[in-house]
Amino acid sequence: MKIRIENLTKTYHVGSSKITAVNDVSFEVPENAFTAIIGRSGSGKSTLLNLIGLNDQPTSGKIFIDDKDAFELSSGERRKMRLNRMGFVFQAFNLLPTLNAVENVELPMSATGRSQKEQREEAVKLLEKVGLENRFFHRPKQLSLGEMQRVAIARALINRPETIIADEPTGELDSKTAKEIITLLSDINRKEKRTLVVATHDEKIFATADYVYTIEDGKLKPEDKSSLLE
């Protein structure tokens, strides 16, 4: 899945003030690579990820998916793209509290018309893969933060997306658990050749990434990883 953005700008109006969260950003998401976007809180990284993930509309500029302007597609087509070709991991996990782990994982697949049996088999397989073979029927509140994020990662993978977009996936986790989650995401990227875009300010993440970009006041620029780690 080739994602290219051109002169992307996103502006919000908060009261009378105008905030430019993403300011004339152009870049191409490297395919099958691990890209980290780092920046302080409020720098615009979540907004940029929402735009890349087609969850938000840009004020100006374009997003091309496989060389097609994504915003020339209907909202239903963009939704289908999110469902089938992208996986999302959120900082606060965003699991549905009324569903157990396996049902949360099945959820995106339930919208694809696959049978209940297929959904269950795939969800179980993914939960085993992320190390939750004993937590299938636990509800989110019965899981630790790290386990919740593993469930969220399994949910992001269920429709076998080409791109995984993770917004601060370790933001709520302790350092040991964060490391495990990074390793898990990194393994998925390397072994399964999926494009991974992560917004973070966690040093451990960008140390693992193939490409690192910094974002400040909505401006994105590529960074030399070694210089950041010094």
């Binding site: 938000d56 939704r79 793209m81 999110r82 469902l83 999302f88 959120f90 606060a92 995106p108 339930s110």
Partner: protein, 371 residues
């Protein structure tokens, strides 16, 4: 719980209203095709004369008998007992109907007697009476039971096996006996007149009114037309109350569902973010609203049926226990099903706006607001 209470109210009040309008309507079957003659100062509600004025039996019957087109006359003394001690009650506790013994069938139709041992009272001056099944059940009366009314000892000769509310609460006795017990010797309060072949009820009623100046003669249609506007009005009021309650339920469900959606904004935004179709989100919210309707409706129908039975018992002084066996007569299953379906539909409609809100949630803004 709000939906359950609303449904219970609709079932209880609606079924009670329906039951009583049905009871009033069914009374007319007692004097099918006959003209009822009462004193000019009295009225007839379906088949029951209301008023204290009496007609001199022999004199009035002689006058009517001479009118062309009269086939048969049946004098009747109809006594409603609407007091318990000194308290006036809303619905009569029971009725006493005095009919000449040779006219049982003409008035009561083919009403069977319960069991094989009973018979209709046979002697005009005897002390035998037949009682309605509801009275018999309430007081454990059977054939042979002795009872006393106004100091007169009576013996039950039969139990009327009928579903008609008036007859099931009646003590039917020979006319002379009724006149003696209720101190109306030689008086009746109603005369049923059967028109001869070729004569219409309407023309006969007109002739009776012309010939006998102190009476009012009412055809079956006139009796029906007299009460029909009142019944229609009662039913309209009932419909109005139901409509208001359903509208309140709609607002209640809408408010609850809007709050529920608003509390789960992040969940709906997440569904949207991962690409779940809008109609799935819409269906989830509608399903939740309909579940409120299903649970509230089911509870409400049960509570409402208890309510209707209790109301019936309060109105009629028939013990609640006796009413329970008749719960499906008081609240017909079709009415239960209709009310249940109506409340589920109302809840589904109440869920539409919240469902639209949930499915139109803008992901990025919702997520931003949630962090």
């Amino acid at each position: 719980m709000g939906v359950a209470l609303a449904t219970a109210f609709v079932v209880a009040v609606g079924a009670t209203t329906m039951r009583y309008t049905a009871v009033i309507r069914e009374m007319n079957v007692l004097f099918n095709g006959q003209v009822l003659v009462v004193d000019k100062n009295s009225i007839v509600i379906q088949a029951i004369p209301i008023g204290t004025s009496m007609l001199p039996q022999s004199y009035t019957m002689d006058k009517i008998q001479n009118i062309t087109g009269v086939e048969k006359l049946i004098p009747i003394l109809f006594v409603t007992n609407i007091t318990q001690g000194s308290n006036l009650e809303l619905v009569p506790r029971n009725f006493s109907i005095g009919i000449p013994v040779e006219n049982w069938e003409a008035v009561l139709g083919p009403t069977p007697l319960k069991g094989t041992a009973g018979h209709y009272p046979m002697n005009e001056s005897g002390s035998e009476v037949a009682v309605g099944v509801s009275l018999a059940d309430q007081y454990d009366w059977t054939v042979g039971t002795e009872l006393t009314i106004n100091g007169y000892g009576l013996s039950i000769s039969g139990v009327l096996d009928t579903r008609l509310a008036v007859l099931s609460r009646s003590i039917v006795m020979p006319l002379q006996l009724a006149q003696k017990i209720y101190n109306h010797q030689k008086d009746v309060n109603m005369i049923a007149v059967k028109p001869a072949a070729g004569y219409s009820e309407k023309s006969l009623a007109e002739a009776i009114k012309q010939e006998v100046g102190y009476v009012n003669a009412l055809t079956e249609d006139e009796r029906f037309d007299m009460i029909q506007p009142v019944l229609i009005q009662v039913e309209m009021w009932n419909l109005g109350i139901e409509a208001i309650i359903f509208a309140l339920s709609l607002i209640l469900v809408m408010t609850v569902t809007i709050m529920s959606v608003s509390e789960r904004r992040r969940d709906f935004a997440t569904l949207d973010a991962v690409g779940i179709p809008l109609n799935y989100v819409f269906r989830v919210v509608i399903l939740e609203a309909s579940l409120i309707g299903i649970m509230g409706g089911a509870l409400g129908v049960v509570f409402g049926s208890f309510g209707a039975v209790t109301l019936g018992s309060l109105y009629t002084n028939i013990p609640v226990g006796q009413f329970f066996s008749d719960v499906f007569t008081i609240v017909p299953p079709l009415y239960m099903a209709e009310t249940f379906a109506a409340i589920v539909i109302v809840c589904c409609i109440g869920g539409v706006i919240p469902a639209l809100n949930a499915s139109r949630m803008r992901i990025a803004e919702t997520m931003r607001a949630e962090y």
